[in-house]
């Protein structure tokens, strides 16, 4: 409730700005930090802003990029085995497109491709694979399917709502297993199929608390972590045997 009140106040403030402000588009997030704690079950952040007049809004949320391998299972000797694979470089770990109506209604395909709007225009480079293009396309499609199934990729037409002609808002939901790192939220103002203005805002997703520290320690000091794990286990085992010593 309190958050909603804040947004409303901010929107009202934005609405009070002169109609022809210097920037045709102004947008921000209710929060620039998502803290993943022990009991994290997903969260959402509200994107809100104002335009200098009627137009369409497209917001693209991109998670940190990493290289990914897509594997296909084949039926071999009665069991399903991962055999062929294609690696893709710099794949965003999260990709969501928000818009007030469907992308094709907002802009022609060429314009969408130019600005890399939507999953089909996502640039995914197959890394050092000599497979024919149609086969790589199959793997690319599988990658997009799988990311959508996991809730990491989405295109949500109609998710940006307008309050009058100029004020807009959208709720960006993140699942419980959202990858950590720096995200970028790119907001585009489109008028008559042309991108008029754009603005990019960062968003940081990070793990905090004991479990995050533990994970970090396990990565950075793997040997010490392994040794400590052994010592704790052995000590617990010894402790547990004490009460039963005389039996």
């Amino acid at each position: 409730m309190r958050m909603r009140g804040t947004i409303l106040t901010l929107l009202l403030l934005l609405a009070g700005l002169p109609a022809h402000a210097e920037q045709p588009l102004l947008a921000d997030l209710t929060s620039h930090l998502i803290a993943i704690t022990t009991g994290f079950t997903g969260t959402s952040v509200v994107l809100f802003g104002a335009t200098d007049g009627p137009g369409d809004i497209i917001a693209i949320v991109r998670g940190p990029e990493r290289d990914v391998v897509v594997r296909q299972k084949r039926h071999l000797a009665g069991i399903w085995v991962n055999v062929p694979n294609v690696a893709f470089a710099a794949v965003p770990s999260f990709y969501a497109v928000f818009s007030n109506r469907s992308l094709d209604q907002i802009a022609p395909a060429g314009m969408q491709a130019l600005h890399q709007i939507g999953m089909r225009n996502l640039r995914l480079e197959a890394r050092g694979s000599k497979r024919p293009a149609p086969e790589i396309a199959t793997y690319r499609a599988a990658l997009l399917d799988e990311e959508q199934r996991e809730g990491m990729y989405s295109e949500q037409a109609g998710s940006v709502s307008f309050l009058g002609d100029r004020l807009f808002r959208a709720t960006i939901a993140f699942p419980a297993n959202v990858p950590t790192g720096t995200y970028f939220v790119e907001v585009l103002l489109v008028r008559n199929g042309n991108v008029i203005s754009g603005q990019t805002t960062p968003l940081v997703v990070s793990e905090i608390g004991l479990s995050a520290d533990l994970n970090e320690f396990a990565q950075a000091y793997a040997l010490a972590y392994g040794l400590i794990a052994v010592v704790i286990a052995a000590a617990l085992g010894w402790l547990a045997s004490l009460p039963f010593r005389d039996a």
Binding site: G39, N177, L223, I232, G237
Partner: protein
């Protein structure tokens, strides 16, 4: 989502802490009753509840360190430890576990590790379950008839012709040092790849292959298991980052309590029926693994990040 969720930092998921404690206690109880480590049931059950197979294997090894210490101390206090035998098996075990962790990392890069774990468990558990079922049925039949002749425990065969013979005073044996080293190495590989202590392979091998006196077997095998699972834990932590300390400790707390009660109960309960029951559990787990391997997956494609 359970009543009291605990976040497992390495596995990257939340599980119900009460459920994990019950799982640990149940496995500990079984291991107390039957004198086995229980790793061979723990790892597949963890996989069934959603823990990534690689994390399940490495964390089980970590859990086994504690469970084995707890069990070994009881045996050592009674002096049932052949140090020379244990050290030789350990030498083999270190080599085997190093090789096993290397294999594990290789399979992981190739995206095969989950399949290899499931497949080796399916093979192991179906063999083990079948053997136990046959054995318990036979001994039940034998007990009904009463008075069947006992089998000879220790037989001489080609294994006794191997070189590098050593005298094992505690075990009253004169055998080749290569035997315990080889046995240790086999168990070391199993430990790294499957997250098991290997007691279920080692104990029969020590009794029937090496001919050790039964009283010396558990203490000596646990001695080797402690050090091999400890090595596997450290190697897995370094090579694969798959040891989840939180998961291992929760399971261990349940496990050591369960084991102590299991040991007590084991003395009172009837052997054959219990062994048959365990055999059925083992076969059930094997059947589920085989089913998962052979049924066509909903989704033929999978994605995984490439580690730099």
């Amino acid at each position: 989502m359970g009543i009291l969720d605990i976040y497992l930092p390495i596995a990257g998921l939340s599980l119900d802490v009460i459920g994990l404690l019950i799982l640990g206690t149940a496995i500990g109880f079984l291991s107390g009753v039957f004198g086995v480590g229980g790793g061979f049931l723990l790892t597949p059950l963890l996989i069934f509840i959603g823990v990534p197979p690689a994390v399940a294997v490495a964390s089980s090894a970590n859990q086994l360190v504690g469970a084995s210490v707890s069990g070994a101390l009881a045996h050592w206090r009674r002096g049932n430890l052949d140090v020379l035998m244990g050290v030789l098996m350990l030498l083999g075990g270190l080599a085997g576990s190093g090789f096993g962790v290397w294999l594990f990392a290789l399979w992981r890069r190739q995206g095969l590790v989950e399949m290899v774990i499931s497949l080796s468990y399916a093979a192991l558990l179906s063999t083990l379950g079948a053997l136990m079922l046959v054995e318990s049925t036979l001994s039940w039949v034998r007990r009904r008839r009463r008075g069947a002749s006992r089998r000879k425990l220790h037989q001489h065969n080609w294994l006794h012709g191997l070189p590098l013979k050593l005298r094992f005073r505690r075990s009253k044996l004169y055998i080749s040092a290569l035997l315990p080293i080889f046995l240790g190495a086999v168990v070391g590989v199993l430990s790294a790849v499957m997250g098991v202590g290997g007691g279920f392979v080692m104990v029969p091998a020590m009794i029937y292959l090496l001919g050790m006196p039964t009283s010396m077997v558990p203490g000596t095998s646990l001695f080797q298991i402690i050090f091999v699972t400890a090595t596997v834990t450290v190697l897995q932590a370094v090579a694969n980052n798959t040891v989840d300390v939180v998961l291992a400790m929760v399971l261990l707390v349940g496990g050591v309590i369960g084991a102590q009660f299991g040991t007590r109960w084991g003395a009172k309960l009837r052997g054959e029926e219990l062994r048959a029951l365990l055999a059925l559990i083992v076969l059930g787990v094997a059947a589920k693994l085989i089913f998962d391997l052979t049924v066509k997956p909903d989704n033929l494609f999978s994605i995984a990040p490439i580690e730099p």
